[in-house]
């Protein structure tokens, strides 16, 4: 059950991240917007992070057959995902603080350097939680300004991902409980909620223009 959920989560995460990342890349290529560039990095990182963990499970299941995933593969995947979450939060901090404070932008990256090598996976889960919670709060605040209904779905998605990260981190304390499967189910729900408004963006009339760089 846990293995199945883990595979569904990683595949959904890979596909949703890839779809939103490609959409952001098309937007960046057409408009040159730095915001869309940051979203491209964010979602392609999230996609690659999920892919790394999924590939780790596949290698373990079909080649190594050791019975448990190599810890470092899971850690690498989570670190790559955290970089993606960082870029989502980073985009919001630029919007919130720009153009007043370069200081806040410079310290935004600090959590990535304050980790030790001990239990690095759990440290990165907690960093992901903070970044996702920040992104969710900023997104819901933007809804109050713009009344864009898509923002509610994205904020819900980010909140569920944050809750999933929290439960995943907390399952470290109770390793045999249902917390980890629940955290995966919650994260799958979060990824789906994240994709709903993005799937409604009409891309049929957009084409690349070589003159626009």
């Amino acid at each position: 059950m846990e293995f199945l959920l883990e595979n569904i989560l990683n595949l959904v995460g890979f596909l949703v991240g890839l779809a939103i990342g490609i959409m952001s890349l098309v937007g960046f290529r057409n408009t040159g917007s730095p915001t869309l560039f940051r979203l491209t990095i964010a979602f392609l990182s999230i996609s690659i992070g999920f892919l790394v963990v999924w590939a780790g499970y596949m290698v373990e299941d079909f080649i190594v057959k050791s019975g448990s995933l190599e810890r470092w593969i899971q850690t690498v995947g989570i670190v790559i995902q955290t970089v993606g979450y960082f870029f989502i939060a980073f985009s919001h901090s630029i919007k919130s603080f720009f153009p007043k404070s370069r200081y806040f932008r410079s310290i935004g990256i600090m959590p990535l350097f304050l980790v030790s090598s001990v239990q690095i996976e759990h440290i990165f889960r907690s960093v992901s939680f903070i970044l996702l919670a920040y992104g969710a709060i900023e997104t819901i605040l933007s809804y109050f300004e713009n009344k864009n209904k898509g923002a509610i779905s994205v904020a819900t998605g980010l909140s569920l991902l944050a809750l999933g990260e929290f439960l995943g981190w907390y399952s470290f304390v109770f390793p045999e409980s249902l917390l980890y499967p629940i955290s995966m189910a919650v994260r799958i729900g979060g990824l789906i909620a994240l994709f709903i408004p993005v799937s409604k963006v009409p891309l049929t009339r957009i084409k690349f223009d070589k003159d626009i760089e």
Partner: protein, 95 residues
């Protein structure tokens, strides 16, 4: 409180003005754009130069005055700008 506009938003405002507010067939004047976009002459001059060089705006000289009107590439850019503004809005962001 003054709303902060990104460089991209200012470009969008200029292109919308040249598309929607055509005073005559030859386009709109710099003075009109300054008033609508609410930015300084030196800044708008730099932006207009870039937009003309990238083919998003067409510059027409009429009675000794430079006028600007949107090109087909500019219209395509505006379509993309509108689509991806809405995309970024979903994330609570401004492009």
């Amino acid at each position: 409180m003054t709303e902060y506009r990104t460089h991209m938003k200012i470009i969008g405002d200029i292109l919308y003005t040249t598309r929607d507010d055509l005073l005559d067939e030859e386009g709109v004047t710099v003075t009109y754009l300054i008033r609508k976009a609410n930015i300084s002459h030196s800044r708008i001059s730099r932006i207009l130069k870039t937009l003309v060089s990238q083919g998003l705006l067409e510059q027409v000289e009429s009675d000794g005055t430079n006028k600007y009107k949107i090109s087909n590439s500019g219209r395509e850019f505006l379509q993309a700008y509108k689509t991806f503004s809405s995309f970024a809005d979903n994330f609570g962001l401004t492009i």
